[in-house]
Symmetry: C2
Subunit: 267 residues, 2 copies
């Protein structure tokens, strides 16, 4: 399972402050902590309200790349910042990054598809259209199919499109998580893409969110989800991930699980 | 999800001692504790080594039925004890019980299928043949299909056959859990039966078994497993189940989850 570390995100208060203050040590620690915790990819989002996002994401990328050569994921609402981020990484000799994200919204397709075509970047595809997040699994699948057609048409291998079926809060709609799982199942069955998700929305408004979040990750893992966007520094979540990897046969002789046990991560 | 309480089992030392000593209070407490914890069915196994299993299971059933009218599951390696148990329950006016279990072993088919035909009892069907537990998901599915044909041929509705795809320890074979999940998926896709499992074998030989067990239940729940044989008195497992039910949309407005939170079960 590809663990996409979510912590370098300018929409979070502490990170926004570090970006504004150009506190490189804070950002470097966020990067190295996530690498040490087992991330396989680092999301980098420079979206500080009122900031200069191109300058911010460029500084973030440079800072992160000074301490790790792990693959990055450039995450922005701004196509200009996405382009600048991808260029900065490639210019510095880094691995071609992921782009977070494209969706079925026309404005997003117009802005991001050219970047996918130009850089052949792996890309997150959100099951979201101009009408919002479709309420049914079939309609979310339809967005996934549209993105698959567009991205492969632009020369991207299907396996580099990472579909996120999206999830809403079960507190607002009891069927919210099941619709996401049904959409995930359809995508896994019908499209040669990969799948991921930022799954923590599911628990919004409920007590013990961590329990719901890690249970939902396990349920999606049973359905074969290929990646997840999460806080790899959360010990209980990582214990859950180690168990998932052992149970999916992705951990030969349970070596990673036993190592995590010896390191005290499973307690 | 149908929670099959596993605790009244004569192969466990404390329960065996209680059966031998005819300690009714101990058994009654096991029954009422499981009902209070949220079981939807109580497994009753009188298999004490060297005991008179027909007498033992009859006493167990009478004892349990004195404190609860919850549906029971008669569990025995002995067809005579199964028959005696089912008869005792029906004679006492109880709900038609489950039988645990039939399998693809010819001797078991010969012994248990007539009981299924006679009583139309819901029955657990183990994906196990005379050659043992098939190593591939397709071969486990083949046993499930054979049991489906036999049981429906004997007049049992398909939905009353509860297929257990069986699981071995991942410590011995890294693919063990994934094979079980693949078999579960095939059964869910192709047969109008229900599915369940005693899933705790999966963690045999590894540290923090509880973590692996509850993660595996969640992964199987993502795939749509309909029931599970488990210790409903285990708080961490029940927290996991409450999260699963909320996430599968089986818990309107998350009422059960919130109630469990207020009762302190989710901590």
């Amino acid at each position: 399972m590809l663990l996409m570390g979510e912590s370098i995100n300018g929409t979070r208060k502490q990170v926004a402050e570090a970006i504004q203050a150009r506190d490189a040590e804070f950002i470097k620690t966020l990067a190295t902590d996530q690498v040490a915790a087992g991330a396989g990819l680092l999301d980098v989002n420079g979206g500080v309200a009122g900031g200069d996002e191109v300058a911010d994401i460029s500084w973030l990328i440079e800072t992160v790349m000074s301490v790790t050569d792990m693959q990055l994921m450039v995450d922005s609402a701004s196509p200009v910042a996405l382009d600048a981020g991808v260029r900065a990484i490639i210019a510095a000799g880094g691995k071609v990054p992921f782009i977070n994200s494209i969706s079925g919204e026309q404005s997003r397709i117009d802005a991001v598809l050219p970047l996918v075509e130009k850089y052949k970047c792996p890309v997150i595809g959100l099951c979201l259209s101009d009408e919002g997040i479709p309420p049914t699994a079939e309609d979310r699948f339809a967005v996934a199919k549209q993105l698959y057609d567009l991205c492969t048409g632009a020369g991207l291998p299907g396996e580099d499109l990472w579909i996120d079926p999206l999830v809403m809060a079960v507190s607002a709609d009891s069927t919210a998580a099941q619709v996401t799982m049904d959409a995930l199942k359809l995508v896994k069955e019908r499209l040669p893409v990969r799948t991921t998700g930022g799954l923590s929305n599911v628990s919004f408004g409920l007590p013990n969110r961590a329990l719901l979040n890690r249970t939902f990750v396990a349920m999606c893992a049973g359905l074969g989800i290929d990646g997840a966007v999460l806080d790899v520094r959360n010990k209980a979540m990582m214990a859950n991930i180690k168990a998932i990897e052992a149970l999916r046969g992705e951990d030969n002789f349970c070596g990673g699980y036993l190592k995590a046990h010896r390191a005290g991560i499973l307690e």
